[in-house]
Symmetry: C2
Subunit: 140 residues, 2 copies
């Protein structure tokens, strides 16, 4: 992993290309070999969830066109929707400027959240009232 | 930190509220005391960047209404835009179902990315061509 790799390419002009395998090689996986992945609904642009991938999960995702995460709690691959049917088809993927976050546009079937809510970010902060409000009812 | 706290409240009905200080107390900060924070443009819904906060940065952000991150590379608070002028006003904040990610809607002044590009996710993956393409020119 190398932040200098990403510093070196950051001034490359619009539409410059690099081999995907080279960039993946340089991604900044953390000390557990993981990188955060944001899943955004490609149609509504709602942020659905954030999870983690290791390099093999990333390669599986690219190969099969469906989101495959690494479950930190279960320590195994987690093909989103494999049991629930709530799959995420990969529409687009991008890396950030220092190669330590992945953003994926996905087509979400059903609910992204295990509670049955459409997205995981249903704990809404009201800073003025100093409250957190639940948005939506659980259905799972 | 407690995943069980979030499991316990996940079936609470729509509009149930909890004290903000209680929820913050239970957030799953990692072993470095940090939690990932996604910044999304509240108007365009583009995902601008992901950075990190510790508890104090979160409290500063809520108190001042502008995004204050923790810089892992510099090991200090990082008030977004303090030197560049490219501030992020906090519009809305939400926590995810297991309390380990924060999503913020922000009003971004200028560029979110240090390269001068509007957002940090300018390394676009073309899975078919096995390439990464730079989107946009750097201006900083």
């Amino acid at each position: 992993m190398s932040r200098s790799y990403f510093s070196n390419i950051e001034h490359a002009a619009h539409n410059t290309t690099f081999p995907l395998t080279d960039v993946i090689e340089q991604l900044n996986f953390n000390e557990q070999g993981l990188i955060p992945v944001i899943a955004q609904d490609y149609a509504t642009k709602n942020v659905l969830m954030q999870a983690w991938m290791n390099r093999e999960a990333l390669e599986k995702t690219l190969a099969c066109g469906r989101m495959v995460y690494w479950s930190r709690s279960r320590q195994c691959f987690w093909e989103k929707g494999a049991t629930s049917g709530h799959t995420q088809a990969l529409i687009d993927m991008a890396f950030d400027c220092d190669g330590d976050v992945i953003l994926c546009q996905v087509e979400q079937i059903g609910a992204a959240c295990h509670t049955g809510r459409p997205a995981c970010f249903y704990l809404k902060v009201d800073a003025a009232l100093k409250q957190v409000r639940i948005e939506g009812d659980a259905s799972a």
